[in-house]
C-alpha cells in the first residue's frame, strides 16, 4: 500500500516534471513584447498619438499572433525628454524583457537609447526621428521613417528646374533642421542656384515673426522651410500675417510643414505650396486607400507620415519574426530586416542592407483641394531614394 502510494506519487511528480519541461519553454516563448516609447504628452504629442494608433491598427488588422507567437505592445510616454526615454527603455529591457524597442519621436530621444540597443543586442526600430546619423549610433537600429536629406534634395532639384535662383532657408534649430538646411544648400548650389540667407529658429516655442521680416526684406525667389511635424500651422499663419504669401516669395518646404495632420486646418492660403515628402494621405494606391480608410475609422484623424512610419515599423517587426520563425535573437532579427522590401501605403520601400536605413520614393506635391479638403497632391516622383548622406560616404 505504502509502496504503491509512494510509487504513484513519484510517478505524479515525474509526470508533472515532464509536463513542465515540455510546457515551460513553450509558455515562456509565447509572447513577444514590443516596447513602444513615444512622446504622448508635450509639444510632440501628435507624433506619439499617430504612431500609437497606427501600431495598434496594424496589430488589429494582421492579428496579434505571428510565427506562432503572441505579440504584446507596451506603450510608454517619455514626454519627449531623453533621460526619461532612456530610463523607460532600460526598464522595458530589464523588467519586461522586450524583444524590440520602437518609437522614438525626436533625434535626441533615439540617441539616448542607442547605446542600450547595442549593449542588449535588441533591435531598435526608429519610427519617427529623422536625423541622418541616427542609424550610425548602433548596429541594431533600423529606420522606417525617413531622413531629412532624403526628402530635401528633391525640393532643391525641383526649385532649380523651376527658375529659383536665389533662395533663403528657414529651419528648426536641431539635428534634422540642420541636415535639411545643408542638403538643400548643397543641392541648390550644385544646380547653379544660390542660398542668400540661412535662418535657424529655436525648436521649442518658435516665433517666426522676426525671421519672416528678414525674409520679406530680402525678397528671395523662394523660401525653403523645415519645421517638425505639428509646427507647420503656426508657421503658415505667421507667413500669411506678414503678407509674404502675396509678396512673390515662393514657399517651398519638406512635407513636415504641410503634414496631413494639420494641412486641412491651414486654410486656402496654403493652396499651391510645393513640398517634397515620402508620404501623403492622398497617395494613389490600393494599399494606401485601405490604410487611410481603416486609420481614419480607428483614430478619427487623417494618418500622417508619422502614422505610416509606425505602420511600416510594425510590418518590419512582423516580417522579421516570420523570417526567424519566431526566434527573438536580436542579431538574427536585424539580419532578417536587412534588405527587406515591401509595398507600404506610401509606395514601394526597402531597408538598405548596409546602412539599415530606409530607401523609398520621394514625391513632389502641391497643396490642392480634394473633395473640399486640403491635401498634398503628388505630381512627380523621385524613385527609390536612399539617404544621400550615407550613400555619399
Amino acid at each position: 500500500m505504502t509502496s504503491r502510494f509512494a510509487f504513484t506519487r513519484r510517478a505524479a511528480i515525474a509526470l508533472g516534471g515532464a509536463l513542465m519541461l515540455a510546457g515551460g519553454p513553450a509558455l515562456a516563448q509565447e509572447t513577444v513584447k514590443i516596447g513602444l516609447i513615444l512622446p504622448m504628452t508635450g509639444p510632440f504629442a501628435s507624433t506619439g498619438r499617430q504612431i500609437e494608433a497606427a501600431a495598434k491598427l496594424y496589430i488589429a488588422e494582421k492579428g496579434a499572433t505571428v510565427a506562432g507567437k503572441k505579440v504584446e505592445l507596451i506603450v510608454k510616454d517619455d514626454t519627449g525628454t531623453p533621460d526619461v526615454t532612456r530610463r523607460i527603455a532600460q526598464e522595458l529591457l530589464v523588467n519586461d524583457k522586450v524583444s524590440f524597442l520602437a518609437g522614438f519621436g525626436l533625434t535626441p530621444l533615439a540617441f539616448a537609447v542607442a547605446p542600450l540597443a547595442t549593449q542588449s543586442k535588441t533591435p531598435m526600430i526608429v519610427m519617427a526621428a529623422a536625423t541622418s546619423s541616427i542609424t550610425e549610433q548602433s548596429p541594431f537600429i533600423v529606420r522606417t521613417s525617413f531622413t531629412l536629406p532624403q526628402v530635401t534634395i528633391g525640393i532643391a532639384d525641383w526649385a532649380a528646374k523651376n527658375g529659383v535662383k536665389k533662395a533663403m532657408t528657414l529651419v528648426s534649430d536641431y539635428g534634422p533642421g540642420i541636415d535639411a538646411e545643408k542638403a538643400f544648400k548643397d543641392r541648390l548650389t550644385a544646380a547653379g542656384g544660390e542660398v542668400t540667407g540661412e535662418v535657424r529658429i529655436p525648436l521649442r516655442n518658435p516665433d517666426f515673426a522676426p525671421f519672416l521680416q528678414r525674409v520679406s526684406d530680402a525678397k528671395p525667389d523662394a523660401l525653403f522651410v523645415f519645421v517638425p511635424s505639428g509646427v507647420g500651422s503656426q508657421f503658415m499663419k505667421q507667413f500669411v500675417e506678414r503678407g509674404l504669401d502675396k509678396s512673390g516669395v515662393r514657399l517651398i518646404a519638406t512635407g513636415d510643414v504641410t503634414d496631413d495632420d494639420i494641412v486641412d486646418s491651414m486654410g486656402d492660403v496654403a493652396l499651391g505650396t510645393i513640398t517634397t515628402h515620402h508620404y501623403s494621405a492622398n497617395h494613389n494606391s490600393p494599399e494606401n486607400k485601405a490604410f487611410v480608410a481603416a486609420f481614419t475609422k480607428a483614430a478619427n484623424v487623417r494618418p500622417n507620415f508619422m502614422a505610416v512610419g509606425g505602420w511600416d515599423g510594425m510590418h518590419l517587426i512582423y516580417e522579421a519574426l516570420k523570417k526567424t520563425n519566431g526566434a527573438t535573437d536580436g542579431t538574427a532579427l536585424v539580419e532578417a530586416m536587412k534588405g527587406m522590401s515591401w509595398t507600404s501605403p506610401r509606395g514601394p520601400i526597402s531597408i538598405d542592407a548596409k546602412t539599415r536605413d530606409i530607401v523609398q520614393n520621394v514625391y513632389v506635391r502641391k497643396i490642392e483641394k480634394v473633395d473640399g479638403q486640403l491635401y498634398n497632391v503628388e505630381f512627380s516622383t523621385f524613385e527609390a531614394v536612399p539617404d544621400p548622406v550615407k550613400a555619399g560616404k
Binding site: T41, A45, F111, A112, T131
Partner: protein, 343 residues
C-alpha cells in the same frame, strides 16, 4: 564650526546655552534613521526599480539643493536648473574628454556649477522676491541658449553623444539593471545630505536662517547678509551641479532638457509637495512626485498630466498651511521629528 562658543554644556536644564542649543537641534531622531535605512534597504528590496529609484535620488538631491537656498535663505528661484545643467554638461564633457572616473568627475562638476553659482549669486543680492524670480529665470534661459548655440561642444539640441563613464573608483561598473547607479546616487545624496545637515545646524546655518526671517534685524545684530547669501547660493549651486552630474553619469547622455524651465519648476513643485526648510522636504517630495508620475503615466500614457495637475491642485487647495492640521495630521509628529517646523 561648533567649538567657538564658550559655555560647554553645564547647566543645560533651564535655558540652553548656545552650544547645547545647537547640539540639541542637531541631534538625530529615530525617523531619520528609519528613512535612510529604508532608502538603503531598497537596494535589496526593489531590485526591479533601481532605475526609477536612481531618478528619485537625483531629483531628491536637486530639490535638496533648492531647499538650501529657498528653505533656509529664503531665495526664491525659478532657474535652479541652470546649475543642474552646468553640472550635467561638465560631467558629460569631462567624461568624454578624459576624466572617465565618475567620482572625480562628480567633484569637478560640482566645482564648475559652484563657480557658476558664485558668479550668479551677485545678481540675487539685491531686489525683492519678484526680481529674484526674474533674475534666476533669466540666468537659466541664458544658460539654455548658450548650450544650444555651442553645438560643436554640447551637441546642441541633439544632445551630447559618446558619454561613457568608467567604473566608479576604478572598481564598480555601471550595470544594466541600474543597481550600481542607484547605490552610487544614493550614497552621494546621503553624504551630501549629511554635510548639508551639519551646515544648517551650525552657527552659519542659523545666521542664514535669521536672514530669511528678517534681513534688517539680522544685519543690526551683526550678521553680514551678502557674504552669507553668496556662500549659501554657491553651496546650493554645487549641490545642484552634483545632482546634474549624477544624472549624466548614470544615463550616459546629456541633452538640453537638463536646463529646461520644466526642470526648475519640477524642483519647486517637489518642495511644495514635501515642504521646505527641513532638508527632508525635497527627498520626501521627490519620492511622492516621481511615484505619482510613474504610476499615472503607466495607467494612462496620454492623459496622465491631467491627473497629475488635478492631484496637485487638490494638494494645494487642502492647504499647505493646514497640511499639518488637516490631511496629514497622522504624519505631523513624524514630520516634526524629521525637523519640520510647526505651522
Amino acid at each position: 564650526m561648533l567649538q567657538s562658543n564658550p559655555a560647554p554644556q553645564q547647566d543645560a536644564k533651564p535655558v540652553l546655552g548656545p552650544a547645547a542649543f545647537l547640539k540639541a537641534k542637531a541631534a538625530w531622531r529615530w525617523p531619520e534613521f528609519l528613512f535612510w535605512i529604508s532608502a538603503f534597504a531598497l537596494i535589496l528590496l526593489l531590485p526591479n526599480r533601481h532605475l526609477l529609484l536612481n531618478e528619485i535620488a537625483i531629483l531628491g538631491l536637486f530639490a535638496l539643493s533648492l531647499d538650501l537656498i529657498l528653505g533656509y535663505a529664503g531665495i526664491v528661484s525659478l532657474g535652479h536648473a541652470a546649475f543642474f545643467g552646468v553640472g550635467a554638461y561638465a560631467a558629460g564633457l569631462l567624461t568624454k574628454y578624459g576624466v572617465t572616473e565618475p567620482v572625480s568627475g562628480l567633484v569637478l562638476s560640482g566645482v564648475a556649477a559652484g563657480f557658476a553659482g558664485f558668479l550668479a549669486s551677485f545678481m540675487i543680492l539685491r531686489g525683492t522676491d519678484l526680481t529674484r524670480l526674474m533674475v534666476t529665470l533669466g540666468v537659466a534661459l541664458i544658460f539654455h541658449e548658450i548650450a544650444n548655440r555651442l553645438d560643436w561642444l554640447t551637441g546642441g539640441a541633439d544632445g551630447l553623444l559618446g558619454v561613457a563613464p568608467g567604473p566608479i573608483l576604478g572598481r564598480f561598473d555601471f550595470d544594466f539593471a541600474g543597481t550600481t547607479a542607484y547605490v552610487y546616487s544614493l550614497t552621494v545624496t546621503f553624504l551630501l545630505f549629511l554635510a548639508a545637515r551639519r551646515i544648517v545646524h551650525s552657527p552659519f546655518g542659523l545666521s542664514v536662517k535669521a536672514l530669511k526671517d528678517n534681513r534688517l534685524r539680522a544685519a543690526t545684530i551683526g550678521i553680514a547678509p551678502n557674504r552669507r547669501l553668496i556662500a549659501i547660493y554657491t553651496l546650493g549651486a554645487v549641490y545642484a551641479g552634483m545632482a546634474g552630474a549624477l544624472l549624466t553619469q548614470t544615463t550616459q547622455f546629456v541633452s538640453l532638457e537638463v536646463l529646461d524651465f520644466a526642470r526648475s519648476a519640477d524642483a519647486l513643485l517637489v518642495l511644495v509637495i514635501g515642504g521646505s526648510g527641513y532638508l527632508y522636504g525635497g527627498l520626501i517630495g521627490a519620492i511622492a512626485f516621481k511615484l505619482m508620475k510613474d504610476t499615472l503615466s503607466a495607467m494612462t500614457p496620454a492623459y496622465w498630466i491631467f491627473w497629475m495637475g488635478f492631484i496637485l491642485v487638490i494638494l494645494v487647495l487642502i492647504g499647505r498651511d493646514r497640511r499639518m492640521a488637516g490631511l496629514a495630521r497622522p504624519f505631523a509628529p513624524l514630520l516634526r521629528l524629521l525637523g519640520a517646523r510647526r505651522p
